[in-house]
Amino acid sequence: MTEQHGTGRLRAGDPRLVVRWARRYAQSRTISFLVQWAVIVVMVLVIGLAANLTSMAHRQDNMGLFYLSIALMCLVMLALAWFSLSRWGGEFIWNVTQWLYGGEGYASFDPGAGRGLPRWLTAAGGGLVVYHLVIAVLVSFGYVSLRNMQPFSALYMAPYLSALILYQGLGFWAWVWPGLYAAHAALLLCGAPIRFPAHFPLLDMIVPVFGYGLVAILLGHAYSRYALWNLKKLTRSIASDVPEGQDDPDTEGGGENG
């Protein structure tokens, strides 16, 4: 439902500020993103290991292992796409999210409700997978160094994440991820000493992708606690000086529960 009150004009303590804090809370419920993050981390780790294995097999001219690891990469990529797009994936995320939120309940606010993602953005999501698969193959054949994957990835990932954030109307916390990811790529290209040791090349890619995502998600979750605290305080302060049931002959009396 669209906002009925211009909360920008309200004074501090006005109970209608409940609207503002309700939206901030709903937009900062990031546990579902955390669940998706965990699933994607596991799958990408497998893809990364398979890419590493492919590279090693190519160097050793072990074609059996080479094609096996290529097949493993493609299989996990398909599994990731299926998880992202299927109804089962959505139900799994919902069930785990509700379990983690415990007795808090569910509330949502989506500024773009009913609009949905544009087709080009949905297609770009598929393009993201293909793009990274191509990079992984180029790494496997030695055309791209594994240690330079992150800047290549940022070329696609940062704009794509930014578009998703805009269209989904996510909170301020979401911008941390593409912001830090792009900054990390820029620092690498400028020669900043932020690379992992040479014998851990995968970490140059994995840590920025998932580390900055985790930072953003945890920041969002922390903010949601603050927003919920403010929301409860404001909501329960509405007409708190008026006894319950005094104006309503049908109500049997109060019943506040803490």
């Binding site: 906002e3 409940v18 709903a26 309940g105 569910y106 409860k232 104006d247």
Partner: protein, 104 residues
């Protein structure tokens, strides 16, 4: 003198509607924890709001688990806005009594 909607003027229902006006949907548990009512009291208020057409009940399933969400209706949002506008009018009259010719 502006009249206040007595259905909304009840503190618990005012809290519920104001909360729902900021969200797309919210479930019973969230309302219970945020507004701070007992289950029976909240159910009673939600029934009244639904009968008045101010709140819509949305029933769905997540897999096999039934789920009930609540959403403020267009009528509810309009009534809430009118309530707050009326309250603002009353407050402004109280804060500027010399502007009201009836008080001479």
């Amino acid at each position: 003198m502006a009249e206040l909607d007595r259905l909304i003027h009840e503190p618990a229902r005012l809290r519920i509607l104001t909360l729902l006006s900021g969200l797309d949907v919210a479930d019973f548990t969230f309302l219970l924890n945020t507004v701070g009512l007992t289950k029976g009291n909240l159910s009673s208020h939600m029934d009244k709001l639904e009968k008045a057409g101010y709140v819509e009940v949305l029933k769905s399933f997540n897999g096999r688990v039934p789920h009930t969400d609540f959403r403020i209706t267009a009528d509810g949002a309009r009534a809430l806005k009118e309530y707050w506008d009326a309250l603002d009018t009353i407050r402004s009259l109280r804060e500027a009594p010399e502007a009201d010719p009836d008080r001479k």
